[in-house]
Symmetry: C2
Subunit: 238 residues, 2 copies
DNA sequence: GCCAACTGTGAACGATGTGCGCAATAAAAT
DNA sequence: ATTTTATTGCGCACATCGTTCACAGTTGGC
């Protein structure tokens, strides 16, 4: 029954036995290093164990399922930066929150593959949750209104990062940058354009082959975020 | 070299040999059925083959990697509804797009686990892409501006659906609804509240235990979407 | 000093994705 | 009509994966 507890509630080591050779942080760091370097699929129990110089089964003394290792990883990257004190300017605070989430997600592309349906409540995650929860302190908003605003921002962040990662992934698989990814799909990409079945899509794709593609996504992120903040602002004054 | 082509560019059957026992649609339907019923992890080559009454290795005559089966699945659910003609009202069209994407994502929760980093260009996906591309037809917007607007909407949709699925998942794992999920985490959930380290978060959590939780997410989706559409509207008139 | 709790590990199990070769089949070439 | 050739289904096999279990060694509380 104590073993079915959340990992954050389990003691980091037993009170009795020999002192552990490794720490949770060791496992986590090795796993994150592997995922960053070779993708999430490289994070296997055996590989992580090898990285630590331990037997595969040794990991199960620190983690009860592989999922928990992912939870540790998620909270670890959330802790790569600490949330600051509230500035008193909710716009600035939300902007900072957005940049932080985007940055860590882009720095660790495996996050998007691991996070869906695996919300965790590690200490670092909690600190950022606390930061967002208090962003509107001083404003007369109900909890529901606060949640609505936070929902919008975090939804936009998460969704946009997903798109960015998608394009990065396409670039990685095809070996070319965004401007030519259509053509890079070979005959199929050509057929989409020449077929004439998708005029609107074709027009956008061709026009979007402009030379500013490298920072297009980043600009879109900033611009979209500001518009969403605008939307929140109108809700605040009314 | 023809085998390294995108699946959508490969012929559905060879020109020479015996006629295939199954079709791509058969595989796809079986896989989707499995994923809907038992989660994405139930979609194994062997299980899908069994569902079809075929040997596991037979699937590799229709699909060159398991990833391609996922691509087929993604496009199949995108085709559960056809995009309508443009109404001339971009707001209505974007609203419809949002509802469609949200509905299919909630109907097939495995989509969120499969889609990240696996953008595909099947015929159904292309039709929806064409629909969104033409939403602003008649308005004097550059391709970049159109992309910016679409980015915002689809980012919000994707991100919000991710959140909704996350909460659904928590409810599934803990067996309780959202209002009590904190308490359901046992001693750890209690400690977050009683510890006093996260006052803002605690306040929101307690206040959010209101009786309207069941449609909170849906309402948030609609409200947030309207605000984003507002943001787009201001960009259109200026 | 004893006992109970805890640690690391080797062996093992069932399951997974996938490559290879072979027999059967159907269309194209002769 | 017969041969050739591409293509299909499948049995076998392999490497790898997550995870269980029993066991030997290690520590702290009594």
């Amino acid at each position: 029954m104590s073993s079915e507890q959340v990992i954050w509630a389990r003691p980091t080591r037993g009170a009795r036995g020999p002192q552990p050779t490794h720490t949770r942080e060791d496992l986590t760091a090795a796993a994150v290093r592997l995922a960053d370097a070779e993708g999430i699929d490289a994070v296997t129990i055996r590989r992580v164990a090898a990285e630590l110089g331990a037997a595969p089964t040794a990991l199960y003394r620190y983690v009860s399922r592989k999922d928990e290792l992912f939870e540790l990883m998620m909270d670890a990257v959330a802790g790569e930066a600490d949330p600051p004190e509230h500035s008193g300017d909710w716009r600035a605070d939300l902007r900072l929150l957005a940049e932080h989430h985007r940055a860590t997600a882009l720095r660790h592309p495996w996050l998007a593959q691991v996070a869906p349906g695996r919300a965790t409540l590690g200490p670092n995650t909690l600190r950022w949750l606390e930061f967002s929860s208090g962003v509107f302190d001083g404003h007369p908003l109900s909890a529901d209104e606060i949640l609505l605003n936070l929902d919008m921002v975090t939804a936009f962040i998460g969704g946009h990062v997903l798109q960015e990662l998608g394009e990065v992934d396409i670039a990685r698989r095809t070996g070319v940058d965004h401007e030519r990814w259509l053509a890079a799909q070979g005959a199929y990409g050509e057929s989409i354009i020449t077929g004439g079945e998708y005029p609107f899509l074709t027009r956008i794709m061709i026009e979007a082959q402009a030379p500013h593609a490298h920072d297009r996504l980043e600009r879109n992120f900033r611009l979209g975020l500001e518009r969403i903040l605008d939307g929140i602002a109108t809700g605040l004054t009314s």
